[in-house]
Amino acid sequence: MSSRRSSRSRQSGAARISDDQIADLVSKLQQLIPEIRNSRRRSDKVSASKVLQETCNYIRSLHREVDDLSDRLSELLDSTDSDSAQAAIIRSLLM
């Protein structure tokens, strides 16, 4: 589909990420990933590879959480009638 579109940045032939992109990585993801944020404060020597790895792990754990919460919500819908489920959702919106 978009196979032709972004070929320019691929032609650089670089097998490693540029410093520019590392800086991007570090600033964005460092704040978002609890693992990195808690263990290293303002370290400029975070390896890109580690940040990427932690990011992948974090995204996977978030996906698992969504799975688990969906499961519990499904059980909830099963056991309550729709009116009280709606009421609960509305309460959660207002608070």
């Binding site: 991007d24 969504v66 499961d71 909830l76 056991s79």
Partner: protein
């Protein structure tokens, strides 16, 4: 699931926008099930669990709108899946995204990340980082709202 027309002019937060859509979806799901006997058998419960999960991701993508590549990719996937259910045909190019080694910059983790972020296979690296940051923030919001719903439903 309708897409919001102007997500950036809408002042309400992403969490509220997500929660409203998710509410509508859950509501619809529980109404559709009104006629079947409760409690559901395990096959039906699994089916509903998957429907809730799908609604969760769809609601978030819809709340974000078409301005992010990842949300567009999610919405596209949902539309295609719906089309396939209506008109079954052989799936072409389903594995296309994962057979593009030339997009790698030599890090295994980058490839992994591309597979985790919707639409990640087709982006250049800088955009991938950008989209990843936003995707993570939205996933977190999604989880927080779902937790809240559960919390208020069980008290």
């Amino acid at each position: 699931m309708k897409i919001a027309k102007n997500p950036h002019t809408n002042p309400t937060s992403i969490k509220t926008r997500f929660a409203l859509r998710f509410l509508r979806a859950i509501n619809k799901l529980s109404n559709d099930n009104g006629t079947s006997p409760r409690p559901l058998n395990s096959a039906d419960r699994r089916k509903r669990c998957r429907a809730i999960r799908a609604a969760s991701y769809a609601s978030m993508a819809s709340a974000v709108g078409p301005n992010k590549a990842w949300s567009r990719a999610v919405l596209r996937k949902i539309r295609n899946r719906t089309k396939e259910m209506i008109k079954p045909r052989t799936r072409r190019g389903a594995a296309r995204g994962s057979m593009n080694p030339r997009k790698e910059l030599g890090l295994g983790q980058e490839k992994e990340l591309r597979e985790l972020v919707p639409g990640g296979e087709a982006m250049d690296f800088r955009r991938l980082l950008n989209e990843t940051g936003h995707y993570i923030q939205c996933l977190r919001a999604q989880v927080q709202v779902m937790r809240k719903i559960l919390h208020y439903s069980s008290t």
